[in-house]
């Protein structure tokens, strides 16, 4: 079995109003070195197979079809074998 971790990010060119708002909070707290805050999604799940290629294919397709919207988001993932 594999544990998958998917991170979905807005494309760099896409405005991120949430990130902007959170960064305002950073300024209020005095974290003046904090720049370019971007908010994304972290998704984890298990894939029930012992074949890494199968797991990779499934995670990639799942990420493309549902977890991210290709018009505004990119995704990356890692797989970790678990017993």
């Amino acid at each position: 079995m594999y544990k998958a971790t998917v991170i979905v990010k807005r494309r760099p060119k896409i405005l991120d109003p949430e990130g902007k708002a959170v960064e305002q909070g950073a300024k209020l707290l005095g974290f003046n070195n904090v720049k370019k805050t971007r908010i994304g999604k972290y998704i984890e799940f298990f894939v029930e197979t012992n074949d890494k290629t199968v797991a990779e294919k499934e995670v990639r397709e799942y990420s493309q079809k549902l977890l991210s919207n290709p018009i505004m988001e990119d995704f990356e993932f890692t797989l970790e074998e678990v017993k």
Binding site: I14, L15, A21, L66
Partner: protein, 231 residues
Amino acid sequence: MKPKFGVVVFPGSNCDHDAYFAVKKILGYQSEFLWHKEKDLKGSDVVILPGGFSYGDYLRTGAIARFSPIMESVYKFAENGGIVIGICNGFQILLELGLLPGVMMKNESLKFVCKDVYLRVEHNDNIFTKSVHQKVLKIPVAHGDGNYFADETTLNELETNKQVLFRYVSPEGNVADGFNPNGSLNNIAGIVNKKKNVMGLMPHPERCCDPILGNTDGALLFNSVAENYLS
């Protein structure tokens, strides 16, 4: 002949009854609810995807609803020229489904906006606005994710093909940032597909059909569809 409207009900839809009530009780057309787990459109001439929070807006608005069994039928129906109207969350579902281009982002203000807005009717070459003779409509919006985005190529295509049907404007009909409730590109409030049989809009025409509410501008759209759906 009067058209039959089918109103799709997803878990989390909350404007389904408003849409049903507006077209059936106020405007007098046949109407039926269509459960999202079914595949049968029950002979609908027009399918409405209503507003609300299908699947709790989890992941992205409309992202999960677009995989509901009924959406396969709605997709085929639209591909064959069937008339589909997506209102608010319904518009978001149509974007996720790919029947309309682009994507919806969070409002620029990050706030849920609920108020009357003014829309300029940009084109009348389609069934949705053919019989709408008013240039500016007053229709309420109620959404947190109505900030329409598409890449430059798609946006140019939409404008060139006259697919931008409604824009947020001043009461006099002038486009300006101050009248855009969500930051959408080109003040876009509603669009149609290339074949002009699928419309998505963020404002809620079903909420302004009953004369008792003091505004019936929304009825103009449903009546236009009813008058022209056979053409």
